[in-house]
């Protein structure tokens, strides 16, 4: 097969005053009708590589040397007019956020029409309808007149793909096209890409940080780190036996060892008992008529967590799993139900008692970048809850505790005097964990604590959480969309769908022989690394 794209010794630097290149001697090629996956953590230069192929680099980026040869032409030396022709005819790109890639004030029809720029074909509408059908949109006549906000995330990504393949490109660059989508939708999009590749005979450069997704569709795997290509290997060989140490580490991080099953003591006390929890929102549809629509975010769910155990709530976005966490923490109003923590009904606690009782249950949030106040030092961030919920401690004790907790979560003591922006994402999440652990809670709610982190860092945070559990017998309520992750760390699982728990039970039962249709579908959609 012929090479469709060849990248030779590509070096790119940002800001001429810094000598170091952000891309260092990138070499790889893509053959006809082949899917090549670029894998790396954030900042590894994978998106930069993709943008340089289509020559959409920021002005501050300078191409130091190298060639990008596409169909026997060096893209880097082409005139702007010629590169526009290539973008129009041969190379298309789809982006990570379908919400941001579509213009919100244009109808779908008008947007797709743009990609048929200067097309002489009179029967454009019919062609667009056919195109939409081919990307798996079942009612194109209806969709074509809608606006982006009326479509779901998966639908928008399909529209994006339809636009990208409108010109029947030779090469499709997909920059994390499934990252912001749910697992079930992700599977559909991946299947669609595979199908299109076979039908249109096009090559795909697939950029992702998720090894499991890459293993699903790619023929070749390229691993990047710090602007360098570390490994360029056949997909099958890569997953069987990666050559590079870093690739090995990546693979390890993507698969979690099964949790050691603890000998469940019958004496274990109840830590959290949620009974018939309902959280409804009222939404006024029309200001004048005032007709209220009730949205059932959480509809009659119950579960129980014993001490030292981990319970996981799994579900897609919009299933109400975060609302459960917020309801327990008192961040939203509860319509009906009981929440008992350490056999105290927290809804009946009042005033100071209620506040002080909060030290027994705490929460870690999803995004460590917005969960730390940028204008406070780490010391005062961690101290905040401590001063408030443990008023009996004096300054000396507090300082000792702070230093102690920092070493526990693996941070340096002098971090106390730094500001959040001086830390990386993983370190920030450690600080967030330290902030709640310092209160010595009995129950910790983790709301997707790793979903905004890189895979290797994810692994470290999960290990830290498991380590803490082994030492302190703390209970976790783990909220996640990632069944792979959850199945390896939790003792029991509840699967949530549209505000209801559709299935619940021991982890091994659910994963191995689920009885519910939705759970099965969810399990099917989860990408697994093929070995």
């Amino acid at each position: 097969m012929n090479n469709i794209l060849e990248i030779k010794d590509l070096c790119i630097s940002i800001n001429s005053n810094i000598e170091e290149n952000v891309l260092k001697n990138i070499n790889f090629n893509i053959k006809e009708s082949q899917i090549v996956s670029l894998i790396g953590e954030s900042g590894s230069g994978k998106s930069l590589t993709a943008l340089s192929i289509i020559r959409l680099l920021d002005k501050s980026c300078q191409i130091k040397k190298g060639e990008i040869i596409f169909l026997n032409k060096n893209i880097l030396s082409l005139e702007e007019k010629e590169i526009r022709f290539i973008r129009k005819k041969y190379i298309s790109m789809i982006f990570q956020e379908p919400m941001r890639s579509l213009n919100p004030v244009m109808s779908i029809y008008n947007q797709i029409k743009e990609s048929y720029y200067k097309s002489k074909n009179i029967n454009l509408r019919a062609i667009i309808l056919k195109n939409l059908l081919s990307v798996g949109i079942s009612e194109p006549e209806r969709i074509i007149n809608l606006y982006p906000h009326q479509l779901s995330g998966g639908m928008k990504q399909r529209v994006m793909i339809a636009m990208a393949i409108a010109c029947k490109p030779k090469l499709l660059i997909a920059d994390e096209p499934t990252t912001s989508l749910d697992v079930t939708t992700q599977k559909q999009v991946l299947d669609l890409l595979l199908d299109l590749k076979n039908r249109l005979n096009m090559s795909i450069l697939f950029i992702t940080h998720d090894l499991a997704v890459a293993s699903q569709i790619s023929d070749r795997i390229i691993v990047m780190k710090n602007g360098e290509v570390l490994e360029n290997n056949n997909s099958l060989e890569f997953f069987r036996l990666p050559k590079n140490i870093y690739s090995q580490k990546l693979l390890d991080s993507s698969s979690y060892k099964k949790k050691i099953v603890k000998n469940i003591k019958t004496k274990n006390s109840n830590v959290l008992n949620v009974e018939n929890l309902k959280v409804f929102y009222e939404e006024k549809k029309n200001f004048f008529i005032g007709k209220k629509v009730i949205i059932k975010a959480v509809d009659d769910i119950s579960f129980l967590i014993k001490s030292g155990m981990t319970h996981a709530i799994v579900g897609e976005s919009g299933s109400g799993k975060t609302t459960v966490a917020k309801a327990i923490m008192g961040l939203t109003d509860i319509t009906f139900g009981n929440i008992k923590i350490l056999n105290n009904n927290i809804l009946e606690l009042k005033g100071l008692n209620k506040r002080i009782f909060r030290k027994h249950y705490q929460m870690i949030f999803q995004d460590p970048f917005s969960s730390l106040n940028p204008r406070m030092r780490i010391g005062s961030i961690i101290k905040e809850g401590l001063c408030f919920l443990h008023p009996e401690m004096n300054n000396y004790d507090i300082n000792l505790t702070l230093k102690d907790i920092l070493t526990k979560v693996g941070l340096n003591e002098n971090s106390l005097y730094k500001y959040p922006h001086q830390f990386s994402g993983g370190q920030r999440q450690r600080i967030a964990i330290a902030r709640v652990l310092v209160l010595k809670p009995k129950l910790l709610i983790c709301d997707e604590p790793t979903s905004s982190l890189d895979v290797t860092v994810q692994k470290q945070i999960i290990d830290l959480l498991l380590d803490i559990q082994n030492k302190t017998n703390i209970s976790y309520l783990f909220i996640s969309h990632d069944i792979n992750l959850v199945s390896s760390i939790s003792d029991t699982i509840s699967v949530m769908h549209q505000g209801k728990i559709v299935e619940s039970g021991d982890t091994s039962d659910i994963i191995l022989n689920s009885k519910n249709e939705y759970t099965k579908k969810l399990l099917d959609s989860v990408p697994q690394i093929k070995k």
Partner: protein
Amino acid sequence: MFVFLITDLFFYLIIISLILYVFHVIKTQDLLENWMYVFKNKIGILSVVVLFFFILITFIDSIHIKEKIYDQEKKEYIYSNEVKSLLDIILLPMHQYSEKSYSAPFSSYLYNKETIKLEKNTNKRVYPKLKYKGNHNKYSENNFHNITVILALSLLKSFFICLLIYVIVFYKTLFKSSFKNFFFIKNNKVFYYSFFFIIFTMISLYDLSLQYYVFGTDKVGVDVLYKSIKSIRTGILIGTLTTIVMLPFAIFLGILSGYIGGVADDIIQYIYTTLNSIPSVLLIASAILILQVYMTNNPSSFENLYERADLRLFFLCMILGLTSWTSLCRILRGESIKLREIEYVQVAKTFGLSKFSIIIRHIMPNIMHIVIISVVLDFSALVLAEAVLSYVNIGVDPTTYSWGNMINSARLEMSREPIVWWSLLAAFIFMFVLVLFANLFSDVVRDAFDPRLNNNHE
């Protein structure tokens, strides 16, 4: 005897809070970094120096005293009825005597011809000589030579003064290292040049005005330069006092409406949309008229003219403040709504912190940069607003020196023949310099506090 006018007290309050803020900045690392960005910026340090001198003049002009005079009738010392500021005493040669009427800058004669009697009962129309200045050249009969000598001498003087300041600052470890660091920073060249240039301007203007009217005289023969310098206080006070009045409203109501939401939000929104829809000029005019009626009905409650004029200035600041808090309030409301949903505020809620402590600890520090930016931006707009309001006769008291009043009187001066242009020019130059540097300063401050440009700080 010291006299404290109401605007003086508020201006002292501003100075004290400014000093406290400086100490707060020196202690807080990231604030210090932001401000160092302002000082390291060429335009930033330049405008800081210029604005510093404007504020210094205002401060000197805000220390008011009554002098002891000997009463001939009662045969005892009493306090004079006239309230003077420290600046008046320093600039005594400028306003001690006044000429008869208009005279052009650096002129030796009045601007209008007068009939004088000659010996043989014959009248002649001539330009009379000025009585006090313009005809008493110290160094040379030639005006040009005389001025050159004065300028050269003042250049020498300012050089020595700057040298003296430099020696005082660097004399051993008189000052803490943080201050010293400031003098060694990257763009200190600009700092020294601009400092020297302003000192030189001030000294040469003073020296020149001992022998000339640098900006001429006005209708009643008062030195226009003196009037312009006295107007600085009015301009700065309008800019700063109004902000002091406006800030509590904007911050308190903005956060209340954004963070607490609900009914409070509705009420506050209605208040500021209503306030916004009233033409502010009408509101200010009516408020000033009410005050005037009050003052004419109760003349006994004011000791003298100065207090009346001062109260009117204060009242003007109040009413300007009341009408101008809405835009900042709206911005702060939006920002608080954004912060309300952010995760560190949620975390604070899970710790059980009260709403009040969340506002103090988490919301306030994260909106302060917006407050600083908009305060600095509003300042120059308010200085200009004063001029506009005085022009339509609803500004400060006609007896108060202000650029607005000068421009207002220039309306008539411009329509006579030959025209009197120097009043307008002087007011224009002073106002232009203040507003220009305030704007430049606000640009740099905005850059320094804009998180999107934060990477420039490295």
